[in-house]
């Protein structure tokens, strides 16, 4: 379907339920597959309607050269829900950048969000923007050097080499790396005013390892679950445990 002017790959698993979950994947090598092949089946089996889609520039969704600010991603999600006729508040489940998008959407459209589950994500504050700028600039430089791919294969295997090639193609053929950190950024006051329940799932060695409970202590209805010894790839490496957390969370926060 066409969402906010872009041909967008959307996968719906209607379960005839009273709750709706929207899965928001991460940036770079990610696509809706990371949720569709892990959490979507058990969530749908629990009677919860599931919406998954490839974010702009990812998977099988159109990849324009420009248009990758968080404002663009928020507008896409808003248009998608309106076109699908989803008129009840939804549970947003985001992985990495997908969680950042969930926070921004909750600030922009608070009445449309029932709850948030964020996996290794933080809201788009100035702190986040600086971190993202550094990570993305480093990634772009690294992926422009051919020897990097041989290093990735030697250290992580052929599959990761292929993923890196994919990420390089996405990032270097678009303005994604430059535009994503532009926001619009959120103030800490806006983050603290997110009124819906939020579950933050982190790896103890992930991107927020320096202060694991900084975010949830700020949120009025924030809860934290930490996987000890786990890095950033919580979703793919702990998907069974994440599935149980998500199912229990939605059960607790159903209308």
């Amino acid at each position: 379907m066409t969402v906010n002017g872009l041909r967008t790959n959307v996968q719906l698993v209607p379960a005839g339920g009273t709750e709706t979950v929207v899965f928001l994947h991460g940036m770079g090598t990610d696509s809706l597959a990371s949720f569709y092949l892990t959490l979507a089946p058990p969530v749908a089996a629990a009677g919860i309607d599931v919406i998954s889609y490839d974010l702009r520039g990812h998977g099988k969704t159109e990849r324009p050269e420009r248009g990758y600010t968080l404002g663009d991603f928020v507008a896409d999600l808003d248009d998608l829900l309106r076109q699908l006729g989803v008129d009840r508040p939804v549970h947003l489940v985001g992985n990495s950048f997908g969680g950042t998008l969930a926070y921004s959407y909750a600030v922009a459209q608070p009445a449309r969000v029932r709850s948030i589950v964020c996996i290794e994500s933080e809201p788009a504050t100035e702190v986040w923007a600086k971190k993202m700028s550094v990570i993305l600039a480093h990634t772009v430089r690294f992926l422009q050097v051919e020897e990097s791919f041989a290093w990735i294969e030697a250290n992580f295997g052929a599959h990761h080499r292929r993923l890196a090639r994919m990420a390089a193609e996405r990032i270097t053929s678009t303005k994604m790396a430059e535009e994503v950190p532009l926001g619009p950024l959120l103030t800490w006051e806006q983050v603290a005013a997110i009124g819906c329940p939020v579950l933050s799932i982190l790896g103890s060695h992930g991107y927020q390892a320096d202060d694991l409970d900084a975010l949830t202590s700020l949120l009025p209805h924030g809860e934290l679950h930490v996987f000890e010894g786990q890095g950033h790839s919580v979703l793919v490496e702990q998907h069974r445990e994440v599935r149980e957390l998500v199912l229990k969370w939605i059960g607790r926060h159903a209308a």
């Binding site: 790959n9 996968q11 696509s31 809706l32 597959a33 990371s34 569709y36 092949l37 892990t38 959490l39 979507a40 089946p41 058990p42 089996a45 490839d54 998977g59 099988k60 052929a158 599959h159 292929r162 994919m166 793919v236 490496e237 998907h239 599935r243």
Partner: protein, 96 residues
């Protein structure tokens, strides 16, 4: 599952794969049970989602590849072979 059923299912799965990859000979390979989805066929995880839809359309909703993969470990999904998919489809479509 009988050998005949397994063999027939494998042939259908291999044929349906051409909807995704076109003619596998273009890649210089012959599809066998050991052919890997990602490395040999150069497909991405998002292609597995598309292939799940193709399988469900052909064999019916009981053949839910996403549900099957959700129970697998990451390394098994990365190393998924055409034979793995055919075995799963064969078990779900086995005449009783």
């Amino acid at each position: 599952m009988t050998t005949d059923h397994a063999s027939a299912v494998f042939d259908v799965v291999a044929e349906l794969l051409t909807e995704l990859v076109g003619d596998a000979e273009v890649l210089g390979i012959e599809i066998t049970p050991d052919t890997t989805f990602h490395e040999d066929l150069q497909l991405e995880s998002i292609d597995l989602v598309t292939f799940a839809s193709i399988l469900a359309e052909h064999f019916g909703a009981d053949v839910n590849l996403a549900e099957y993969l959700a129970e697998q470990d990451l390394d098994d999904v990365i190393g998924l072979t055409v034979g793995d998919i055919a075995r799963f489809v064969g078990e779900r479509t086995c005449p009783r």
